[in-house]
């Protein structure tokens, strides 16, 4: 469903990706943990086709239409209402936004409010709705829990779980081991553009993964 082969990319003297290869099958979630500047966001951008890697190739089954992106920034227009934003992004994918999506994210009461009038947590929920508006099969998640309160984080976990149950795949990158581990079927640690660890989670809890991460990154 998602394949990366020998990805290499440099920004000047800095190596953002250094021979990264992996595959993610339907139903799998790969959590990539790494410190700031490890190349996590570059990896996601290469997978999404936003950056052409200097070497190697990335392939997502279904192309751009299959990808949903949740990142640090919500990719929304502050002057437009929640509903107008979703309608706009849906129109680019030739679909109509479903009211069900708003309900699942607890946005019913905010649908006709401008995004700029919403709190940070609500904006992030709208960003999640935007990413899921076209029912993507592959989710690329860049620190998706940033700014979310406990309820919204739980909703996001549930939605991601639903996507995986329906045969979707996802790659989640974060520096926070605690928030990503439970969702993951596979875990990778990234440092200076390289995967220094890549293995199935195999029942490991967040405390154990965090310990291994500290050892691998140190």
């Amino acid at each position: 469903m998602l394949r990366a082969e020998g990805l290499k990319h440099r920004f000047g003297a800095i190596s953002a990706l250094d021979d990264v290869s992996f595959t993610v099958q339907p139903g799998q979630t790969l959590a990539v943990f790494g410190p700031n500047g490890a190349g996590k966001t570059t990896l996601l951008k290469v997978l999404a086709g936003l950056i052409q890697p200097q070497h190697g190739r990335a392939q997502v089954e279904g192309g751009r239409r299959a990808i949903g992106w949740i990142g640090h920034q919500p990719q929304l227009y502050g002057q437009l209402t929640v509903r107008e934003n979703l309608r706009f992004w849906a129109s680019l994918y030739d679909v109509s936004p479903s009211d069900d999506l708003l309900s699942r994210l607890g946005l019913d009461d905010h649908a006709d409010r401008p995004v700029r009038a919403l709190s940070r947590g609500l904006v992030q929920r709208v960003a999640i709705a935007r990413a899921l508006v076209h029912d993507p099969r592959v989710l690329l998640l860049d620190e998706p829990f940033t700014g979310l309160d406990r309820v919204a984080a739980e909703s996001l976990r549930r939605l991601l779980g639903d996507v995986m149950k329906q045969g979707g795949a996802s790659v989640l990158v974060t520096h926070n081991v605690e928030e990503g581990t439970e969702l993951a079927t596979d875990v990778a640690f990234m440092r200076a553009g390289r995967f220094v660890h890549f293995a199935p989670r195999a029942g490991r809890g967040s405390a154990q993964v965090a310990e291994e991460y500290r050892n691998a990154i140190a």
Partner: protein
Amino acid sequence: MRSPDLLRHAWAIASKDLLVELRSRTAILSVAVFVVLVLVVFNFGRDPTAVSNIDLAPSILWVTFTFAAILALNRAFQLELENQALEGLLLAPVDRGSIYLGKLIANLVFVATIECLGVPLVALFFNVPIIPHLGPLVATIALATVGFVAIGTLFSAMTVRTRFAELLLPVLLLPFMILPLSWAALATGRLLAGRPLSEITGWLNMLAVYDLVFVILAVLLFPATVNE
């Protein structure tokens, strides 16, 4: 990508931009104030015994439109930087050309609105006859506007992620505006002087060719300007 999809996506992007502008009204109001201010200053600053109104009005009209358009073009892609919406657009399964065309349509509507304000004000302040020549005058303004807005939209995308976007845009754009602006100013002068239409058809043809060349070039070059 099929042309109906290209145009549908372009229209979706243009209508979104116009709706955002309608809600905020910040850019249109600041540009409208600028146009009124410039025309008022020119009106009171000129010496009508030195240069006749008919000779002065075309230059003032086009100088005003040029700077108003630059102000408008500067904001075209700034909107997409807010919350990194540009990445969302690039990630969507739409042709890069439709993003460009959407921005071009929105910019044209924006600049045309300003021109609808500017032309009557020039007629009022400079006492020049526009009603008898309205058709050819609108054609001249439309042809010149499409040309410099087409190239301006491309440069706006090119410069928006640089540190000196607001400085770079006019520096890059003004050399490309010299030809269409001089043709448009010459054609406008002849029109307002009541010269026959045959005297301006050459300039209108050149403006049409300029539009065709630069719209096609901009659509082809746009993907290279937005890729990381």
